[in-house]
């Protein structure tokens, strides 16, 4: 019989979750499970709705990454309309997605994860939060807020609202970018660039001092999946083709139209979680585990395509990959990858603002229901996002499936927890949970910046609770952080 440790729920992630760690009779870690315990069923909710409403509805699933759903849904509509959207609309949607990446990554890095990095995993949990960060680095905290605001400003200037703008629609976007809006964003860019440069220096300083910790943190082989530029292999966040590589850098899938995702991605369901576990079909479940998101995107791309971000990508690979390899495997490096991606996003926004076509007023193609099924794929901050709709001849939704980034990292999150637990638990001494492990398991999950609001369609947070069970299921120890 096994012993079970439950961490319930995890703090500083969006939504509800708990973690169970199963020990064998010898007190060694047998398995770990990241449970998502709430289900809201947005897919079912969408049935019977008009296609035209889907972008606006799905954007409201999440308060952190609404633009990802907005764009994936609009692209699904493009597919069903069978239209090619105007070039300016494509560029404007890209710019909004870049703003989304900046604001989401800034929140994750500066306010959710920096306390762990700056104050250390073994620091007092009562101080290891954003206030602890402020006490030590108030300027960094303020700069992080401004950086997130810049990303939101991009969204607001384009969409008219920071949250849930119903701006992207099948066929394009509702409004073009004004000259005033372009000037407003351009004026803010230098400050944003300065902040990310500081953050990168700060993070590299952390890496220099914590090499051993970094190397043990979620360091295991999986596949990596992300979009890359069609025919270029460049870092991509909105369009392009799917590429899947293994941890040695071997390309398993390339130039693959993401609309055919069902041919290569399966979805496993476990009885202990509402979070589905997508996997690469040819390798089966769970051997086909793959990671998505910032780390995966930097691993699958050949290069980013902007000068400063490419330099940072090179250094990222030098610091994170094994000798002779180019793939960075440690999940800890998700944090680093977020910073590189913010820089990439800022450089791309800069380029788009200089594009003469960006203020074109030709931003929407008209269309109708020309197909009864469509797929839209984009890169959300946390990874590749798939929307797949079936409609009737009138454009009413018959069936919806969404494959969310957090779900695609589910297997990897479980492995991360297991690896950290195996590092720390060798027999449960005095029936107590090691404090250091507790902190690291939490941080291990946070590296993925999971958004459970999206992935299970749940909302809300709860206090932190960890329970340790003996082999018979009796509670040995319980830790609660209110």
């Amino acid at each position: 019989m096994t012993t079970r440790i439950v961490i319930d729920p995890v703090t500083r992630i969006e939504g509800h979750a708990k973690i169970s760690i199963y020990l064998n009779d010898a007190g060694e870690v047998d398995d770990a499970r990241f449970h998502v315990v709430e289900f809201r069923g947005f897919e079912k909710f969408c049935e019977g709705r008009p296609l035209g409403e889907m972008a606006g509805i799905t954007a409201r699933i999440c308060g952190i990454c609404p633009i990802s759903h907005l764009l994936a849904s609009a692209k699904t509509g493009d597919d069903i309309f069978a239209v090619e959207i105007p070039t300016a609309a494509d560029k404007l949607r890209r710019m909004m997605n870049l703003g989304q990446i900046v604001q989401s990554h800034a929140l994750s890095f500066f306010h959710l994860s920096s306390p762990d990095l700056l104050l250390g995993y073994d620091s007092d949990p009562a101080q290891r939060n954003v206030f602890g960060l402020i006490a030590q680095q108030p300027e960094l905290a303020r700069a992080g807020i401004r950086l997130r605001q810049f990303g939101q400003e991009v969204i607001e200037v384009l969409g008219g609202k920071k949250i849930h703008p119903a701006w992207a629609v099948p066929g394009g976007v509702r409004e073009p970018l004004s000259e005033a809006g372009r000037a407003q964003l351009r004026a803010w860019l230098p400050e944003a660039r300065s902040t990310i440069d500081i953050a990168l220096r700060y993070f590299k300083g952390y890496l220099d001092k914590n090499d051993a910790e970094v190397k043990h943190f979620g360091n295991f082989a999986t596949l990596f999946m992300g979009l890359v530029g069609r025919g270029t292999g460049l870092w991509e966040h909105y369009n392009g083709d799917l590429r899947i590589i293994d941890s040695d850098g071997n390309v398993l899938v390339d130039d693959f139209d993401p609309r055919r995702f069902e041919e290569i991605i399966g979805e496993a369901v476990e009885p202990w979680s509402y979070l589905k576990s997508p996997y690469y079909k040819p390798r089966g479940y769970p051997d086909g585990a793959y990671r998505v998101g910032p780390l995966a995107r930097l691993n699958v791309c050949a290069r980013i395509g902007t000068p400063h971000a490419d330099l940072e990508l090179e250094e990222f690979r030098q610091r994170g990959a094994r000798p002779g390899k180019r793939v960075v495997v440690s999940s800890f490096m998700y944090h680093y990858a977020r910073l590189v991606e913010i820089l990439a996003a800022l450089e791309r926004i800069d380029l788009l603002l200089d594009d003469p076509e960006i203020t074109s007023t030709r931003v929407r193609a008209s269309g109708g229901i020309n197909k009864l099924e469509g797929v839209g794929v984009s890169e959300a901050p946390r990874g590749t996002l798939f929307h797949h709709y079936h409609v009737d001849a009138n454009g009413m939704i018959k069936r919806v499936n969404m494959i969310i980034a957090t779900g695609q990292n589910n297997i990897a999150m479980n492995r991360t927890v297991k690896q950290i637990a195996q590092e720390w638990i060798h027999g449960v001494k005095d029936a107590r949970i090691p404090e250091g492990m507790l902190n690291r398991v939490e941080a291990g999950i946070r590296a993925y910046d999971p958004c459970l609001s999206c992935s299970t369609h749940a909302v809300g947070k709860m206090p932190f609770n960890l329970t340790l069970y003996d082999a018979r299921g009796a509670v040995l120890d319980q830790v609660r952080r209110d």
């Binding site: 995890v10 703090t11 500083r12 992630i13 969006e14 809201r40 069923g41 947005f42 909710f45 509805i57 409201r60 699933i61 999440c62 308060g63 952190i64 609404p66 929140l107 306010h111 959710l112 949990p125 009562a126 101080q127 939060n129 954003v130 206030f131 402020i134 006490a135 108030p138 905290a141 303020r142 992080g144 807020i145 401004r146 997130r148 605001q149 939101q152 920071k162 949250i163 849930h164 369609h457 909302v459 947070k461 709860m462 206090p463 932190f464 952080r481 209110d482």
Partner: protein, 150 residues
């Protein structure tokens, strides 16, 4: 005056806060700003720091307020940094206010305005009772907005 309504508009009465904020925004009154958000995030501290009066508007379980009143108003105070919340509730109104004071040296007068909700299941639209209560909240805020504008 700043009104921040928060909650999910896809979860029935949980959307009352954002709906109230949207309505206040449409008033277009001078010195009155409204933000409708799904959840509170740290960057709101900067917006809060510029305000004189802040109303956080949220839905609440009816069991919390048994008086039958259409809404409940309570002050929100910033905390000492040393006593700041340690849990994962990063951004409840008190936390946003504490961030505002700590980062921007500004702690405006803030209140949490809670509106009892009856249905939080997946779905759009408010229950009739919540809509009724929302009208009272809007009348209250309009009066305060007139004061802010005067």
């Amino acid at each position: 005056m700043l009104v921040i309504g928060f909650g999910s508009t896809l979860h029935g009465d949980d959307g009352v806060g954002p709906q109230i904020a949207e309505t206040v925004g449409h008033w277009r009154m001078p010195h009155v700003t409204a933000l409708a958000v799904t959840q509170l995030t740290p960057d709101l501290a900067e917006r809060v720091s510029h305000a004189h009066d802040v109303y956080f508007v949220d839905a609440a379980l009816p069991s919390v307020y048994k008086s039958g009143a259409p809404f409940h108003l309570e002050p929100v105070d910033a905390q000492d940094l040393a006593r700041a919340p340690a849990d994962g509730h990063l951004c409840d109104p008190r936390t946003v206010l504490t961030l505002s004071r700590t980062l921007y040296d500004a702690a405006p007068r803030a209140r949490l305005l809670s509106v009892p909700g009856r249905n939080f299941e997946l779905g759009e639209g408010l229950t009739p009772q919540c809509r009724h209560d929302m009208a009272h909240v809007l009348a209250f805020l309009h009066e305060r907005a007139l004061g802010a504008t005067a």
